[in-house]
Subunit: 323 residues, 2 copies
């Protein structure tokens, strides 16, 4: 298995030692290394077969595992240099599925623009379900790291990347055809496929973290658990009041409207409460928000809390009828 698995994984520019020794040696070029780990578990983080009929390919799992890890590096204004991949799986996992997973890892590195990032080490073992654990190592941009604790009163809060799309895609995947029009219905077919892809293959805007750091971002984090939860974390870590302006999120919500109409959902709820988009949330001095970021809120002195349109919000969700 390893003999077929390994050659599909990219070797990188930072590898100092080839494969086959006890550990990898990566040339980092900085006395600091950025490191993060994330695990994807079958049935919890994805369904082998979704209620809408979609089958999860190994490629999807490998791609998402890489994307969510590289997003964490992005949020520290770091560049990926290497991954360590540990895959535990049932003995009867089809070889094709496993090789597809390797291809998904390689595809994510390429598609997300992490060229030069290697798969520097790994481990294959048995388990009752697929458990994919990826460790990502990065080198810092000179301006990084930017922590989530640096937002200052007067700052603008800005976002880059997809907003609400992964949540809309998840809702489509979780909807069985008999419970409404199938997601593949002609009216929104292309959009629905894009939203499903946003859930299965997140696209963290790599490089935007370093760009934010160079633009002087005071705080930076990735959006993994949803705008409300994550913005509240930023507010708490920074000890400031963050106020999100839903009018500035309307463009993101509008894009989701056809899926929301199909499923009887509120697109703004996806934008505010939906996770796994792996965009970035950042705080900037007004006037310094870099290209690509959308200003969506402000930072004020006061209790460390999150407001939405000037009203207290809860991390468990957002009720636009209360606004």
């Amino acid at each position: 298995m390893l003999a077929a698995f390994l050659p599909r994984l990219p070797r990188g520019a930072h590898d100092d030692v080839g494969n086959g020794d006890d550990a990898a040696v990566l040339r980092i070029g900085d006395p600091r290394v950025v490191a993060t780990v994330d695990t994807l578990v079958q049935d919890l983080d994805y369904r082998p077969v979704w209620p809408n009929g979609r089958v999860t390919r190994g490629h999807d799992v490998g791609f998402k595992g890489v994307a969510q890890n590289l997003s964490d590096l992005n949020a520290m204004a770091a560049y990926p240099i290497g991954l360590l991949v540990s895959l535990a799986m049932p003995a009867d996992t089809p070889v094709d599925w496993v090789l597809s997973l390797a291809d998904g890892i390689a595809d994510a590195i390429h598609t997300l623009g992490a060229e030069g990032c290697s798969v520097a080490g790994g481990d294959l073992s048995g388990a009752r379900e697929v458990v994919l654990t990826i460790t990502a190592l990065g080198r810092l941009d000179d301006a990084g790291p930017v922590l989530r604790s640096g937002a200052r009163p007067g700052d603008e809060i800005a976002v880059i990347g997809r907003v609400g799309e992964a949540a809309a895609g998840l809702a489509l995947l979780e909807t069985a055809p008999e419970s409404g029009s199938p997601p593949g219905a002609p009216a929104g077919a292309a959009l629905f496929e894009e939203l499903i892809s946003a859930q299965l293959r997140p696209r963290p805007p790599l490089g935007a973290g370093a760009a934010a750091a160079r633009a002087g971002a005071h705080a930076l984090m990735d959006l993994s658990d949803g705008m409300l939860r994550d913005a509240e974390r930023l507010a708490r870590a920074s000890g400031v009041r963050v106020d999100l302006d839903t009018a500035r999120l309307a463009g993101f919500a509008d894009r989701l409207a056809p899926a929301a109409a199909l499923l009887g959902a509120d697109p703004m709820h996806w934008c505010l409460a939906g996770g796994e988009d792996f965009g970035l949330l950042a705080a900037f001095t007004p006037g310094t928000v870099p290209a690509g970021f959308t200003a969506i809120g402000s930072v004020a002195d006061g209790a460390a809390e999150l407001l939405v349109d000037g009203r207290p919000s809860t991390t468990t969700g957002w009720d636009h009828f209360a606004a």
Copy 2:
């Protein structure tokens, strides 16, 4: 859970950023970082309850997970600076067991002499069985890394650490009391406990890798899959003939004799074929073998293969009746 888990884990001297951000930043002090990952899976890498009645504590699993990872750094002549811990487990895993696992991680770092090594990041998730994945990051000794591919004709092969003890311990754990005297029988009780501990809590000789590098070791690797398999890997990677001398392993085998007598086993088989001791195997110019290492064989020009007492060996085992 995380709130109780994290404070039990050591923070380290190399942490540049405290907990709570998207990724860890470790000050490595060298433009190169050494990285390795290993996974322990319930029922495959350990039994929740062993045939001899021993119950595996969370402490055992955490300790072993750390030990086998730090051994890989040791084998590259590197010093551990940080760990990333991903723990997937069933929802009904007792909290005490999980906290015991955290204590085992901390205990291993302390007991193995890896002070200053932090648990810099982690992830907790669900799964049908316990899957513990640890990533270890290290900084290189100036003389490192030492690869497994550098052995030269004329070198001596030497070992440091336990030999055969983890295999003897495994055999004791796998022996139900009804199939013979219980391992706790008075005659060898203290020894048997030590051997079981060797299996559950390996003691890689951290620092010996760097010492070997400073002594000019030509090749270095850790003993995880048994002397025969690992020495053959060294022979192949280096393109040399390695000849192990069982007479020089007799001291290791003698120590295992009471357990072997109890179980009707061959102690030399444990020494040659048993894995998971996590000692080191190294190749040195004759006369430069450092203190603590035991010379056990020689390197000669010729086919890249392993001999035992001058005869070809197989990686599947060793039959002393053939010798």
